[in-house]
């Protein structure tokens, strides 16, 4: 295991201390693993709380700030946070207009957020959860815990955050969050495994000319093993899987996301293939992100996330945002 760390036990808290030192716009409670805006809650504004296992940076802490999240609670690496953290976050950001919980669809995240919402309710805070489940690699059926929440989480947090900043009521913020989730799909591909620091060895073995198609953001195995073919072919496989589930027409917001160990030159190369694939089928990419936004430690690979935009979603996407990992308009 080759990592820049002090010890497997302190990875998350050491990194949180670094985040705190680097971004004075954030208030970071390292001990309780809680990241909020330095300003505190905004009266009359819906609070946005998200959280999940660590190892996906910049998600979620890097998206706390004006126009996006009010708080993030990171768990241990790849392990959802605990209800105590989520409750503390919910109380910290409640500005009297209620709190939205952005939850990625994993049993652990769902159960812990459910418990937290119940506890918050007991304390008189209105909480509405929105569960993100955009990963088409898993079929959503009676036979699974449902689709995993992956890249669409970034879109949900940005767009719902923008609407909340306009002091829309909780119901509307939750509705737009669900709308973004319903209009978004993702597919991920891994070239290499990641290594959970506390585990010390790669989560899965993979050959030098193999790739994992449909990999999860925790290194969960995907649909199949494939051969390491060209970026064009790999991209087509990913987009075919998405297109089989959602008609890729009209104006699209597209993210080509790196898994953590893939350099930007390769991500732009993949974006070029995505662009050719989608425009070749008559769609228009009107907004895009290319970079590392929801990672899996040092895994090499990428994911592509597509959202079918509407004019109002585009307007919310363009709204000013000022967070460590996403910033424009101010």
């Amino acid at each position: 295991m080759k990592k820049l760390i002090n010890s497997p036990e302190t990875v998350v808290t050491d990194a949180l201390s670094g985040l705190a030192a680097a971004h004075l716009g954030l208030a970071v409670d390292v001990e309780n693993k809680l990241i909020t805006r330095a300003g505190g809650p905004t009266a009359g504004k819906v609070g946005l709380v998200s959280g999940g296992g660590s190892g996906h940076e910049p998600l979620h802490g890097g998206f706390v700030g004006y126009g996006m999240l009010d708080a993030a609670c990171p768990g241990e690496v790849f392990t959802s946070p605990v209800p105590d953290q989520m409750l503390a976050a919910t109380k910290a950001v409640d500005g009297g207009a209620g709190v939205l919980h952005v939850v990625k669809n994993y049993t652990g995240d769902v159960l812990n957020f459910e418990m937290a919402a119940e506890l918050a309710g007991d304390e008189g805070i209105e909480v509405v959860p929105v569960v993100v489940n955009d990963d088409v690699a898993v079929q959503d059926s009676l036979y699974t815990a449902g689709r995993r929440g992956t890249g669409a989480t970034v879109f949900v947090e940005k767009i719902a955050g923008a609407l909340a900043e306009r002091t829309a009521p909780l119901g509307e913020v939750a509705a737009v969050a669900r709308e973004v989730n319903e209009r978004s799909r993702s597919f991920g591909v891994a070239l290499t495994s990641c290594t959970v620091p506390a585990a010390g060895k790669p989560t899965f073995e993979i050959g030098d000319s193999e790739i994992e198609l449909g990999v999860g953001i925790h290194g969960e195995p995907g649909r199949t093993r494939g051969a390491l073919v060209t970026a064009r072919e790999i991209t087509a496989t990913a987009l075919d899987a998405i297109a089989a589930d959602l008609a890729l027409t009209g104006d699209l917001l597209v993210m080509v996301n790196g898994m953590g160990g893939t350099p930007l030159i390769e991500l732009y190369l993949v974006y070029n293939e995505v662009h050719k694939y989608l425009t070749g089928r008559g769609a228009r990419i009107t907004r895009n992100l290319v970079g590392n936004y929801i990672t899996s430690l040092e895994m090499q690979g990428f994911s592509v996330t597509v959202c079918k935009l509407t004019d109002s979603l585009t307007d919310l996407w363009d709204a000013p945002v000022d967070t460590p990992a996403l910033r424009w308009g101010r």
Partner: protein
């Protein structure tokens, strides 16, 4: 069985989880995200610390504190699920200083129903329920049949172990492993395996000569 007995059980679980930490993590690596052993060692370590602090003088209060601590420290799927199991078991034991076998049997049934209510898993879906359910009913049956403590606890541990083994051919329908669909077949479920360890720990503690 008094509070000391249940403290000893939890201590034994913490010890076993430490030795089996990597094994449980490897099981989770195969069909999950390689953290189950890490999660439980963090969790039961915290439970040990909490119990060392707390007065918790009744069997019920020991298990409730254990459950609450798991919920507060573990995260993931197993945190709320095991936490709920211990909390419900503890609540079922009431606040008497001593509990008997029938009371413990009722507590195990309460743990099971708590897990199923929260996680909505039925037997056969390749989860901890597949070890906990047969263990609870085997124990209840043995107790009802007037089996000796030794016999009842052996039935409990054996049923849990058999239940865990039985998850190998199953396709996971709940939890992270379900994402694999058919590819989840052929692997033992990590949570079922840890449940078997927890029940074995109970048997071993019960087998110790009373101090």
């Amino acid at each position: 069985m008094d509070a000391g007995f249940f403290r000893a059980w939890v201590a034994e679980i913490a010890a076993v989880v430490e030795t089996q930490r990597d094994h449980l993590t490897q099981l989770d690596a195969a069909i999950g995200d390689a953290d189950h052993g890490i999660n439980l060692s963090r969790g039961f370590g915290a439970v040990q610390a909490a119990l060392a602090q707390a007065s918790a003088a009744t069997p019920g209060s020991v298990l409730v504190l254990a459950g609450s601590t798991l919920i507060s420290k573990v995260g993931g799927a197993s945190g709320p699920l095991y936490g709920t199991a211990f909390r419900h078991a503890g609540k079922a034991l009431g606040d008497g200083p001593e509990v008997d076998l029938p009371a413990l049997a009722g507590a195990l049934e309460a743990a099971l129903s708590g897990v199923q209510k929260l996680g909505a898993a039925r037997e056969g879906e390749k989860t901890m329920v597949d070890a906990l359910a047969p263990a609870a009913s085997a124990f209840s049956k043995a107790v009802a049949d007037g089996a000796s403590p030794t016999g009842a606890f052996s039935a409990l541990a054996d049923a849990a172990e058999a239940g865990a083994q039985a998850t190998i051919p199953m396709q996971a329908l709940k939890g992270r492993a379900s994402y694999l669909g058919p590819r989840s077949v052929g692997h033992e479920d990590p949570g079922a395996a840890s449940t078997a360890l927890i029940m074995r720990a109970l048997r071993d503690v019960a087998a110790r000569p009373a101090p």
